[in-house]
């Protein structure tokens, strides 16, 4: 098991793992609607599938929030 950080919280995962895999692993409600930062840099959506995670990576999931009414 290896450790990465998802939204500031440590998570144990098994490599190889792509960003898409991590999204699935975390049961993100609407996988197409999440914005992803990897180690402080935004990832392009088309790269989710091919980006392999490694030990110590820090991932932030950012979700759309459209309300205000």
């Amino acid at each position: 098991m290896s450790k990465i950080k998802v939204n500031d919280e440590s998570q144990e995962v098994t490599f190889p793992l792509t960003v898409t895999g991590l999204i699935k692993l975390n049961n993100v409600l609407q996988p197409d609607m999440v914005s992803v930062q990897l180690n402080g840099e935004f990832l392009e959506r088309q790269d989710f599938e091919t980006t392999e995670l490694k030990e110590g990576d820090e991932i932030d999931f950012l979700y759309f929030m459209g309300g205000g009414c």
Partner: protein, 268 residues
């Protein structure tokens, strides 16, 4: 600027603050702030900015008060149902603080009127309820070099980001609006009323910090919170080189409204 005795009394708790003081309060009194949307977020934002004595408050909203609004839009009262929201808001602001000059726009914020309206203001606050307008506000402010506060709430969650020219914008993080109905808005999914107050007051605090120069703004940081866990967290953001509006090779150079229909504006 000379304070009247009444003003000294009214703003004494600001003047006492070392980071605000007389000078800071003067800046607030000279400030011009536009609040887009007089709903869940707009209500607390307007109330606190009015109380603080922001010199000019612009309010833009094309809607009228609906009974379902009153669960969270604390600037509107039961007798206001049916009244244009901007009118209802203006009445309350005048009652709270006659120092404040209120400019109302009973219309929606669109690609056509955006630049004309924002040019008169020092700071813009997003209190809207749908993605196309949120992105429109972002683009207009980035292109015009205006600072603004983004805010969004849904169910039990809220998020906000402050943008100054050169810092990460909303599009840096959320490239473009989701397809219609892909992500629910609060009119579809619901929202805990108090969340609007929580996020709106954070946005109001950002405005006051910006006007007075006190503290560190939420620039290059997205604040998110969840009221169920009451966990607050800030995610550091960097300006995104590939951002379509503020990146190195911008593709958005003028305002276009998203093609999708504004999501159920009338659905209450």
């Amino acid at each position: 600027m000379d304070f009247t005795g009444e003003q000294i009394e009214r703003y004494s708790r600001h003047i006492l603050l070392q980071d605000i003081g007389v000078e800071g309060q003067e800046k607030i009194l000279n400030g011009k702030v536009l609040v887009i949307g007089a709903g869940g977020l707009g209500a607390p934002i307007l109330l606190y900015l009015a109380a603080a004595g922001v010199g000019t408050l612009g309010v833009i909203d094309g809607d009228v008060v609906d009974l379902s609004n009153l669960q969270r839009q604390v600037i509107h009262f039961t007798p206001d149902v049916g009244k244009p929201k901007v009118e209802s808001a203006k009445e309350k602001i005048n009652q709270i603080n006659p120092d404040v000059k209120v400019v109302t726009y009973h219309e929606f914020f669109t690609a056509e009127n955006a630049f004309d309206i924002i040019q008169d203001y020092d700071f813009i606050v997003d209190g809207t309820d749908n993605f196309p307008v949120k992105f429109l506000i972002n683009d207009a402010c980035v292109l015009a070099g205006k600072p603004f506060s983004h805010g969004g709430i849904l169910r039990f969650d809220g998020q906000t980001l402050t943008h100054l020219p050169g810092t990460a914008c909303y599009r840096c993080a959320f490239h473009s609006p989701p397809p219609p109905n892909a992500v629910p808005t609060c009119s579809q999914a619901g929202v805990l009323g108090a969340i609007a107050g929580m996020l709106g007051t954070i946005q109001a605090a950002e405005v006051l910090k910006y006007l007075t120069g006190a503290g560190d703004l939420l620039t290059n940081r997205l604040l998110t919170f969840n009221a169920k866990t009451m966990n607050f967290r800030t995610v550091n953001l960097k300006p995104n080189k590939k951002c379509p509006v503020c990146g190195e090779h911008p593709t958005i150079t003028e305002l276009v409204e998203s093609e999708q229909a504004v999501c159920e504006l009338k659905s209450k």
